[in-house]
C-alpha cells in the first residue's frame, strides 16, 4: 500500500459514483416509462444529491453525525475493495468474506446514526433492515461458500477469471443455475428493492432509518446508497456473470443486471418482514443448500 493505491482508489470511487448515479438516473426514467410517465432527466440524481448536501440540516447529537460518517466511510472502503472490471485499487484484497464483513461496518454506522436520532420509526426501520439482512445473507453466503470450496479461492477477481475461461457457458449462473437464482433473489434483498423493502416503507414507517435526515446527512446517505448498490451488484457480476475482462464489459453486464432487477422490483408488491424471512428460508435457502450440496458432495458443475 502506497500513496498511489489511495489515489487510484479515489479515482475508482469517483468512477463508481458517476457510473452508478447515472445508472440510477437512467433507471428512474426506465421505471417512469413503464409506468407511462416521462420521468426525470437522467442526471436528476446528481442534482438531488448535491442539492441535499448543500442544504442546512439538524442533528441529534454526536453519534448521529458520527454514524453517518462511519457509514459512508465504511461503504466507501468496501467499494475500494471491489474490482472495477479488471481494475483493482488494492491488490489481493478482494476477498469475498472481507467484503461481506466490511460492508457491515457501513450498515452498522447507518443503523447507529438512525437510532441515535431518538426517533422510534428509525429504530423500527433498522430492526427490519437487520432482520432482512439475516434473511437474504444466509442463502447468498451458502452459495458463495460452495463456489469457494469448488474453486479454492475466495477472491472476487479470481472467481471471475475462472468463469471467463469457459466463455459464456463458463459463467456460474449457467453452471450453477440454482445458485444463480438464489444470488439474484438475494441481491434483490440486499438492494432493498421490492418485494424486500419493508424497512424503508415510506408510507408505513416514514422511510424508516431515513426519517430524521436532511441536508448534508441526507446527501451523504444518498452517496452511501449509490456506493452500496455498486458494491452489491458488482458482487453478483463478479460471482455469477464472469466479471469483466474489460471495464466496458463489466459496466454493460452491470447495467443490464441492475436494470433488470429494477424492472422486476417495480412489478412486485411488498413482503412484510416476517414474510420475507419465511420466504428466504423456504425457497432460496433450500435452493442454496441443494446447490452447495451438489457442488461439495457431487461435484456437479465443477470442471
Amino acid at each position: 500500500m502506497n500513496l498511489m493505491n489511495f489515489v487510484y482508489a479515489f479515482l475508482l470511487l469517483l468512477a463508481a459514483f458517476v457510473f452508478q448515479t447515472t445508472l440510477t438516473g437512467i433507471n428512474r426514467k426506465v421505471v417512469a416509462r413503464l409506468q407511462r410517465r416521462r420521468g426525470p432527466r437522467f442526471y436528476q440524481q446528481f442534482i438531488d444529491i448535491f442539492k441535499a448536501l448543500s442544504k442546512g440540516s439538524t442533528t441529534h447529537g454526536w453519534v448521529f453525525d458520527f454514524g453517518v460518517v462511519m457509514a459512508l466511510g465504511g461503504i466507501m472502503a468496501t467499494a475500494i475493495f471491489i474490482p472495477f472490471g479488471p481494475l483493482k485499487a488494492v491488490p489481493a484484497m478482494d476477498n469475498i468474506f472481507i467484503i461481506a464483513y466490511v460492508l457491515a461496518v457501513g450498515m452498522l454506522g447507518m443503523a447507529m446514526s438512525a437510532s441515535g436520532s431518538g426517533n422510534p420509526w428509525a429504530s423500527i426501520g433498522v430492526s427490519r433492515a437487520l432482520t432482512n439482512m439475516l434473511a437474504y445473507d444466509i442463502p447468498f453466503m451458502m452459495v458463495v461458500f460452495g463456489l469457494i470450496f469448488a474453486f479454492d479461492t475466495s477472491s472476487l477477481s479470481g472467481l471471475a477469471a475462472i468463469q471467463r475461461e469457459g466463455g459464456f457457458l463458463g459463467w456460474h449462473v449457467i453452471r450453477f443455475p440454482l445458485g444463480g437464482i438464489v444470488a439474484m433473489i438475494s441481491l434483490q434483498g440486499m438492494l432493498g428493492k421490492k418485494p424486500f423493502d419493508s424497512f424503508i416503507a415510506p408510507a408505513e414507517i416514514a422511510s424508516g432509518p431515513m426519517v430524521e435526515y436532511g441536508g448534508r446527512h441526507l446527501g451523504m446517505l444518498f452517496l452511501l446508497h449509490e456506493f452500496s448498490t455498486f458494491i452489491e451488484v458488482s458482487l453478483i457480476v463478479h460471482l455469477f456473470f464472469g466479471g469483466g475482462a474489460t471495464v466496458a464489459a463489466f459496466l454493460v453486464k452491470y447495467a443490464l443486471i441492475y436494470t433488470f432487477l429494477n424492472i422486476v422490483s417495480n412489478v412486485l408488491p411488498r413482503f412484510k418482514i416476517d414474510q420475507a424471512v419465511t420466504f428466504f428460508y423456504k425457497v432460496p435457502l433450500a435452493l442454496a443448500v441443494v446447490q452447495t450440496f451438489l457442488i461439495i458432495v457431487v461435484g456437479m458443475g465443477v470442471a
Binding site: 464483513y101 437510532s115 431518538g118 422510534p120 439475516l134 448534508r216 424471512v277
Partner: protein, 608 residues
C-alpha cells in the same frame, strides 16, 4: 520459578484480600486488582520459562505454550474486571468472601492450565467450580448457582470417569502418557473422547448444556459476569483441546466413518457446536436483559470455538484459538459496559433504559467496539478470528457448519445492535438525566480493553505467532503469516490494509461531512412524530420487543431447558417415591420389603 510463585501467590492473595477486606472493604477490592495485575506481570515475565516443570504440595505442573496462552487470557480478564470490584463492595452480602473467592478461582484457573497430570487438572477444575459457585448466588439468583453447579458437575464427573478409565488403561495419570494407548484402539478412544470432553462441553455451554450460561451469567454479580463469560467458559475450550489434540482424536479415529473427511465422532460434536451457534443466536435476539443477551451470545461464540478446535487444522483451529482471546476480551468489555450502566441505573433490562450515550460516552464506545468485535466486523479482533474459522470451514467444505456460522454471524448483528440501540441510543428517560458517567477506576479497564480489541484486530501477528507455536506443539501446520497478511488456502487477509482502506474511506466521508454546511443541534424529542404531540421520552423509545416480527417466527420453539427441568422434576418425583415406598413409621412396611428381598434372593439362590 515464576509460575509456582504465581500459583501460590494467587491463593495467598485470596487469603490476604480476605483479611484486608476485614479491615477495609475498598482496600480488599484493591488487593484483588493488585494481585491479578501481579499475576499478569508474572505471566508476561515468565514467557521464557515455557517448558519448565515444578511441583506444589503433591501436584505436578508443566508450563506449556497453550497453557500459558490460556492463562494469559484468563488473567487478563480477571485483572481488568478486578478494577470494578471496589464499586460493588457495599452492595455484596459478603464482600470479603467475594474478594477471597475471586482470587481463589483465579488461582484455580491458572493452576488448571499448567497441570501436568490429570488429577491436578481435575483438582483445579473443581476448585474453580466450587469457588465460582459461591460467587454466583451473591447476585440476583440462587437457582442460577445450583443449575450452574449441577451442569458443571455433570461434566466434571464424566471427565473424572474418563480420567479414571484412562488411568486404568494406561496405568498413568500423566497427561501425555495417559492418552497414549488410545491411538490404536478406536472403540476405547471413542468412549474416552466423548466422556472426557463432557466437562469441556458443559463449561463452554454447548447445547444441551447451555442452560446455565444465561442463568448464571445473567444473574451473577455484575463484576463477576465478565469473568464467567470471558474467562471461565474458556476452561472448557482447554478440555476440548485436550480431547482432540492430546488424545489425538484424528489419529485414533483413522478408521472411522467420515463426513467430509471428519471422523463421525468429531463431526457429531461439531453438529452440537453448530446447534449452539444457531440456538445461542436465536435466543440472544429475543432477550430483554442485556446480560442474558450477552450470555446467549457466549453460547453462540462457544459453538464457534468448539468447531474450530475440533477441526484441528491450520486455519479454523488458529481462528478458534484467537477467537477465544477475542471473545474473552470483547465479552468482558461488553459485560463491563453493562456493569457501568447497572452501577449507575440499577437495572440491566433493555426496555427500562435508553439514551445512555448522552451520559456515559466512553462506556458507549467500549460497548460499541466490543460488539463490533463480537459480531466479527473489521477492523476488530473478532473479525480476524471469525474469518479464519470460516476460511477453515470452506477449506474442508463443511457446509452445514458454515451455514450455522453464517447464521450466527449475521444474527449477531441483530442481537448486538439491540442493546446498542435501546440502552445507549434512543430517548434518555428523564429519571436518568442526572446520571454521572463511569468512575475513573472503571474507565481504566474499559479503555485498555478497547485498545486491545482494536490493536489485535489490526495487528494480530503477535497472537497468531503464539498460536502458531501452539499448533506446532500439537503437531499441525501452523497458521502462515507474511508481513501483516494472514495466508489462508483460499485467500489472504491483510488486516493492516483493511484498516488503512477503512481509514481512507472514513477520511473521505469526514471531509465531505466537514465541507458541507454546519447542522443545528436539536433535542431528541424534536423529531418527526407523524404529527402527534408526544411529551414522554420513555414512551417515545423503541426498546422492547425489538425484533417482534422475527421473534414471532420461532416463539413456540421446543426448549431443551423445559426438557431438562422436566427431567429434574422426574428426579424429584423419584425421590418422593422412594420416600413414600420405603420410609414409614409403620414397621410393617419395612418388614414387607425385608420379606420380599429374602424371597427374591432365595428364589435365585436356592437353585444355585
Amino acid at each position: 520459578m515464576t509460575f509456582d510463585i504465581l500459583i501460590v501467590l494467587m491463593f495467598l492473595g485470596a487469603v490476604t484480600a480476605y483479611l484486608v477486606s476485614k479491615a477495609d472493604l475498598k482496600a480488599g477490592a484493591y488487593a484483588t486488582v493488585l494481585f491479578s495485575l501481579g499475576a499478569l506481570v508474572l505471566l508476561l515475565l515468565g514467557r521464557g520459562e515455557i517448558g519448565s516443570e515444578f511441583t506444589i504440595l503433591f501436584m505436578g505442573f508443566e508450563v506449556t505454550t497453550i497453557g500459558w496462552y490460556f492463562s494469559g487470557v484468563m488473567v487478563l480478564v480477571y485483572a481488568m474486571t478486578a478494577f470494578f470490584n471496589s464499586y460493588w463492595m457495599d452492595k455484596m452480602i459478603y464482600p470479603g468472601s467475594y474478594n477471597f473467592l475471586y482470587l481463589f478461582s483465579l488461582g484455580g484457573t491458572v493452576g488448571l492450565f499448567f497441570a501436568k497430570d490429570l488429577i491436578t487438572l481435575f483438582i483445579f477444575w473443581e476448585i474453580v467450580v466450587w469457588s465460582s459457585t459461591f460467587i454466583v448466588p451473591m447476585g440476583k439468583s440462587r437457582r442460577a448457582a445450583v443449575v450452574y453447579y449441577t451442569i458443571s458437575t455433570i461434566g466434571s464427573m464424566a471427565t473424572l470417569y474418563g480420567i479414571m478409565l484412562l488411568h486404568r488403561i494406561s496405568g498413568t495419570l500423566d497427561i501425555q502418557g495417559a492418552f497414549a494407548p488410545l491411538k490404536n484402539d478406536p472403540v476405547l478412544a471413542t468412549v474416552i473422547f466423548f466422556i472426557f470432553i463432557m466437562a469441556g462441553l458443559t463449561k463452554i455451554g454447548i447445547f444441551p448444556f447451555h442452560i446455565w450460561l444465561p442463568l448464571a451469567h445473567g444473574s451473577a454479580p455484575h463484576t463477576f459476569s465478565p469473568v464467567l463469560s470471558g474467562g471461565l467458559v474458556k476452561m472448557g475450550a482447554f478440555i476440548a483441546y485436550m480431547s482432540v489434540g492430546i488424545l489425538p482424536a484424528y489419529e485414533a479415529f483413522k478408521g472411522s466413518l467420515t463426513v467430509m473427511g471428519i471422523p463421525i465422532q468429531i463431526y457429531a460434536l461439531m453438529i452440537l457446536g453448530a446447534v449452539s451457534i444457531v440456538l445461542g443466536t436465536l435466543m440472544a435476539i429475543k432477550q430483554d436483559d442485556a446480560k442474558k443477551l450477552i450470555a446467549y451470545s457466549s453460547v453462540a461464540n462457544g459453538g464457534y470455538i468448539l468447531i474450530g478446535i475440533l477441526l484441528m487444522d491450520q486455519l479454523a483451529f488458529a481462528g478458534s484459538m484467537m477467537h477465544l482471546f477475542n471473545h474473552a476480551i470483547a465479552s468482558a468489555a461488553a459485560f463491563l459496559a453493562i456493569a457501568v450502566v447497572a452501577h449507575r441505573t440499577g437495572t440491566t433490562k433493555i426496555s427500562e433504559l435508553g439514551g445512555m450515550i448522552h451520559r456515559m460516552p466512553l462506556t458507549y464506545l467500549t460497548y460499541l467496539i466490543a460488539i463490533i468485535s463480537l459480531a466479527g466486523i473489521p477492523p476488530m479482533g473478532g473479525f480476524v478470528s471469525k474469518w479464519l474459522i470460516i476460511q477453515g470451514l470452506a477449506d474442508q467444505g463443511l457446509m452445514f457448519m458454515a451455514l450455522a456460522a453464517f447464521f450466527g454471524s449475521i444474527g449477531s448483528f441483530l442481537y448486538v445492535f439491540r442493546p446498542l440501540a435501546a440502552v445507549f441510543l434512543g430517548q434518555l428517560a428523564p429519571r436518568h438525566e442526572e446520571l454521572a458517567s463511569a468512575p475513573l477506576l472503571m474507565k481504566i479497564p474499559m479503555t485498555i480493553l478497547m485498545v486491545l480489541i482494536l490493536f489485535f484486530g489490526v495487528l494480530p501477528g503477535w497472537i497468531l505467532g503464539i498460536i502458531g507455536q501452539i499448533q506446532v506443539a500439537a503437531g499441525i501446520e501452523p497458521v502462515m503469516m507474511s508481513g501483516n497478511s494472514i495466508l489462508a488456502v483460499n485467500g489472504v487477509l491483510n488486516t493492516l490494509n483493511v484498516f488503512m482502506v477503512f481509514g481512507f474511506g472514513f477520511l473521505i466521508a469526514l471531509v465531505i461531512f466537514m465541507l458541507m454546511q454546519k447542522s443545528r443541534r436539536v433535542g431528541l424529542m424534536d423529531t418527526y412524530t407523524s404529527a402527534e404531540f408526544i411529551y414522554t421520552p420513555e414512551l417515545y423509545h423503541y426498546g422492547s420487543a425489538f425484533y417482534a416480527p422475527f421473534e414471532r417466527l420461532y416463539a413456540r420453539h421446543p426448549s431443551v431447558e423445559d426438557f431438562l427441568m422436566a427431567l429434574a422434576y422426574k428426579g424429584h418425583e423419584a425421590g418422593l417415591m422412594v420416600n413414600a415406598l420405603f420410609f414409614s413409621h409403620k414397621p410393617g412396611v419395612t418388614v414387607f420389603w425385608i420379606t420380599v428381598i429374602v424371597a427374591v434372593v432365595t428364589l435365585g439362590g436356592v437353585g444355585l
